[in-house]
Symmetry: C2
Subunit: 108 residues, 2 copies
Amino acid sequence: MKDKTLYVLHSNICKALANPIRIEIIDILNEKELSFSEIQELTSVLKSNLSQHLSMMVSNGILIQRKEGLNSYFKLTTEKIGIACRIMREVLIENIEKQKEIINNLKY
Amino acid sequence: MKDKTLYVLHSNICKALANPIRIEIIDILNEKELSFSEIQELTSVLKSNLSQHLSMMVSNGILIQRKEGLNSYFKLTTEKIGIACRIMREVLIENIEKQKEIINNLKY
DNA sequence: TTAAATGTTTATATATTTGTAAACTATTAA
DNA sequence: TTAATAGTTTACAAATATATAAACATTTAA
């Protein structure tokens, strides 16, 4: 029986991309570090919920957290996350374009 | 209020990466088209379950399905999916390496 | 026209994810 | 020391995702 541990670990890290709030956070954090309150302002997500998403992303190795005084700061672990995310965005856009074409070419 | 539709659509497509079986399927289909039964043999997943995962990936725009006689064939919609997937795998490997280092440097 | 082969769909039980509210902790300022 | 600020944790209900089994549909061969 083949070992599937790698697939489980891989899908675990990909789960960080599987939620709209977390996608928005990755988008916002592209290339820069922001504080919890800045992220909250930009996303308008309830703070307890935001904290849960951020801590999930930290424990999945997607984000790095730094605490300074009362504040928490977050950034992407590596720019690769932003890159992977943008590639998937391109796939989405391409799919939408294809859908558009199909609809535009409909005869009725 | 900011429109979050794009984040919802984006996360929907990323959900295709959020499961170990689906990651394995993406891995297997890299650069080539395979039949249902070939995928089943390689993954050892129950056929009804495999069919569900494949059809979810088709409706999320990750896979293209082609039917020929009794058989179904599947391939990635675009090589970008394989690329994004590989980048996330690299992130995982880097994270594991960091963990290793931390453990190796532990004094006790 | 039956039967076999190849998937697909549906029903269902279980597990996981998610959002909200409330309680809590830690740091700083008065 | 008290209070305020900033964020975290916990408890819980609702929504979603998942695996299994059984029923179903479609194509081909006998």
